[in-house]
């Protein structure tokens, strides 16, 4: 068994640690690129959302490197993501690939027994002891947390750095170095090292950079290729960004959701505008927009793939928040046809707007 998984932000690092810890063979699909998307959109149904298409590209690229099993998280909520596995299985079968899917669904939807069965299907191939298996899982979670921390610091400090581009290069180096690590322990040490480095970058505390919150659909927000590297672009402009949705947030949120203790701040923030969970991350999107305003951010950018059902609901609510609180919010819709030039123009125009508001040029004249 040679497992693979879709590329999604920094999850590949955690997956690498997990597979290495368990002693399972794995293939990391090549970083998302135009190539993956082209393969994906060639074979996918036309009206499916962007993440689906990129994932198909990932699988096919991974199969060429020998992968035969796919691990995918699932959901049974009203959003289309829950149906991905079924369609992807059919699609790949039709293309003539023999691939096994292991779908990790929430226990409340498939039952704890079925979940256990699926997890053992995956971990049976590991000859490690139970202790080592648990250790591998904990290491993976640790790596994910560390990586998300480093990324968040880099995005935040980019506005304050003394030497321009410092944060960005450090972050990029960190990712490339991490991929080269041979063992879980080595990677954890490396990440701790980098965390220290990034938190001690020389900064100018008197700077007052623009602060922008990135909100929206989780895949397009955490996968840089799908949002045309918006965070890197904002780092280049010297804008501090923050996003709440990360893989580690997702794990924590999912684990805590049966107890209803998950993301209390988001729930509180969204209460006035969207009091119910409607699937996907629409409620999170609304809550984060409100929280960003309360944390004195200058603006927020919502990103979602074309046709994303929950985000369409939040897109219709965001203008009201923007009006109520005098808080600029821009929505960006991405799909395989998004052109980079138009996209950059809109981001630059939005940043210009925020800059002028900050300097009070037009506001009170």
């Amino acid at each position: 068994m040679k497992v693979t998984f879709p590329q999604m932000g920094n999850i590949y690092l955690a997956a690498k640690v997990l597979c290495e810890g368990l002693g399972i063979e794995y293939v990391i699909p090549p970083q998302n690129s135009r190539n993956a998307l082209n393969i994906g959109s060639l074979h996918s149904p036309e009206e499916m959302c962007l993440p689906f298409k990129i994932m198909i590209g990932n699988y096919i690229q991974a199969i060429k490197q020998g992968a035969d099993t796919v691990i995918l998280t699932g959901s049974c909520g009203p959003c289309r993501f829950g149906e991905y596995c079924e369609l992807q299985m059919n699609l790949l079968k039709k293309l003539g690939y023999n691939l096994e899917f292991i779908v990790i669904d929430m226990p409340k939807d498939i039952g704890i027994k079925e979940l256990y069965k699926r997890i053992t299907r995956f971990s049976l191939n590991s000859k490690k002891s139970k202790y080592k298996k648990t250790k591998a899982l904990l290491d993976a979670i640790k790596v994910m947390n560390l990586m998300d921390d480093i990324e968040a610091s880099a995005h935040n400090l980019a506005g304050y750095e003394k030497i321009k581009g410092n944060c960005k290069s450090l972050l990029n180096n960190c990712k490339t170095d991490a991929l080269k690590c041979k063992s879980p322990l080595e990677m954890i040490n490396l990440l701790i090292d980098y965390k220290h480095k990034i938190n001690h970058i020389s900064i100018d505390i008197n700077k007052n950079p623009l602060k922008v919150a990135i909100i929206g659909e989780i895949y397009t927000v955490i996968e840089p290729f799908s949002n045309l590297c918006i965070e890197d672009k904002l780092m280049d402009y010297g804008v501090s960004t923050k996003r709440k949705l990360t893989p580690s947030w997702w794990i924590k949120n999912t684990a805590l959701s049966p107890t209803k203790l998950n993301s209390i701040d988001i729930k509180k923030g969204s209460k006035e505008y969207l009091p119910l969970y409607i699937g996907g991350h629409a409620r999170e999107c609304i809550g984060e927009a409100v929280l960003a305003y309360e944390d004195n951010f200058d603006g927020a950018i919502q990103i979602f793939p074309m046709g994303c059902m929950p985000e369409i609901v939040s897109k219709s609510i965001l203008p009201t928040i923007s009006k109520d609180k005098d808080f600029p919010i821009m929505s960006l819709v991405v799909d395989e046809m998004t052109g980079e030039a138009g996209y950059i123009t809109r981001i630059e125009a939005f940043i210009d707007l925020l800059e002028r508001r900050q300097k009070d040029v037009l506001l009170r004249c």
Binding site: P45, P310, I312, S316, T320
Partner: protein, 306 residues
């Protein structure tokens, strides 16, 4: 009090319930007009661009009603069956409407869980409180409304045609004749009868849906998939016509699942949105019916001697 009930989305299926319930409570009912150009235009004007056609039309109906009544019912239909949903947009419907249309009157937006009588009664209780404090009266109105709903039958099963097609899709696309440009009448004029999912045994539909790897969590996905796949096995029906609105997230999944299953059975997908032209729909229907007729003739010409 004047209660406005918009004729959009699932109105075609559940209007007896809503109308009976509120009129039993002593309200005056005002329903919006059948969908027409003004309704559609108002919907397109107010709704976000990315939404699908039925949602836009629903916005149009609300904007038609908003100055004509004191309170508007926006049915936030969460569940019809246990562990099943309709679509995220249905769950967030009141938020979409209230944040898109200015100067709205009061609204009833309590979530509707229709998976059991008891859960549905929660909705009735909270909505009925706006009209009367008498719990008995609410209960009476609720029982009467349920009764009316049970007696109400939708669905089409044309008998007198030799050639028949299964008409599949979401109810609000099938029964709204403005949106689908009278597709049923058009088919009938071409000499083709229509059968809809209400005339198929629910057990058959459910067993078919059980063959899927993942239990469908959308009610319409289960219904449409089960119905269409069963119809394709059925000798009674010559082909399938599926009415789908452009950019419908659920249809993008169901259509693929169906295609995967029925192989080369005749299957026509009519995509509709606010810019669909009638001529294009006519051409496609005629071509499809021509093809079905030819298939039918060839099949009946086969010699019985083998």
């Amino acid at each position: 009090m004047k209660v406005g009930i918009p004729q959009g989305l699932l109105y075609y299926k559940y209007h007896p319930f809503l109308i009976t319930f509120f009129s039993e409570l002593g309200a005056e009912i005002i329903t919006s007009v059948n969908t027409n150009k003004e309704v559609l235009d108002a919907g397109v004007k107010y709704c976000v661009d990315e939404a699908c056609l039925p949602i836009k039309i629903f916005h149009g109906h609300i904007s038609f009603l908003k100055d004509k009544c004191d309170i508007i019912v926006i049915p936030r239909l969460m569940q019809l069956h246990k562990n099943e949903y309709i679509c995220p947009k249905f769950c967030g419907l009141p938020e979409m409407v209230l944040n898109s249309i200015p100067n709205m009157p009061k609204t009833i937006t309590a979530p509707i869980y229709a998976s059991s009588k008891r859960k549905l009664y929660y909705w009735a209780k909270s909505s009925g409180k706006l009209f009367t404090k008498n719990n008995l009266k609410i209960k009476g109105a609720f029982m009467k409304a349920l009764d009316k709903q049970e007696k109400h039958k939708t669905g089409i099963n044309d008998k007198k045609y030799e050639l028949k097609v299964a008409l599949s899709g979401h109810p609000y696309n099938i029964y709204d004749n403005y949106v689908n440009m009278n597709v049923i009448k058009k088919l009938n004029n071409l000499g083709v009868g229509v059968i809809t999912e209400e005339y198929m045994d629910t057990n058959l539909i459910n067993t078919e849906a059980k063959n899927l790897y993942k239990k469908p969590f959308w009610t319409f996905a289960r219904n449409n998939y089960g119905f269409t796949v069963n119809a394709s096995k059925n000798k009674e029906v010559g082909g399938i016509v599926y009415i789908s609105s452009f950019n419908c997230g659920i249809d993008s999944v169901i259509v693929e699942l169906i295609k995967d299953r029925i192989c080369d059975f005749p299957f026509l997908i009519l995509k509709i949105d606010e810019q669909t032209g009638e001529a294009g729909i006519n051409t496609r229907l005629e071509a499809f019916v021509d093809m079905l007729e030819r298939r039918y003739e060839i099949e009946s010409n086969i010699s019985t001697n083998g």
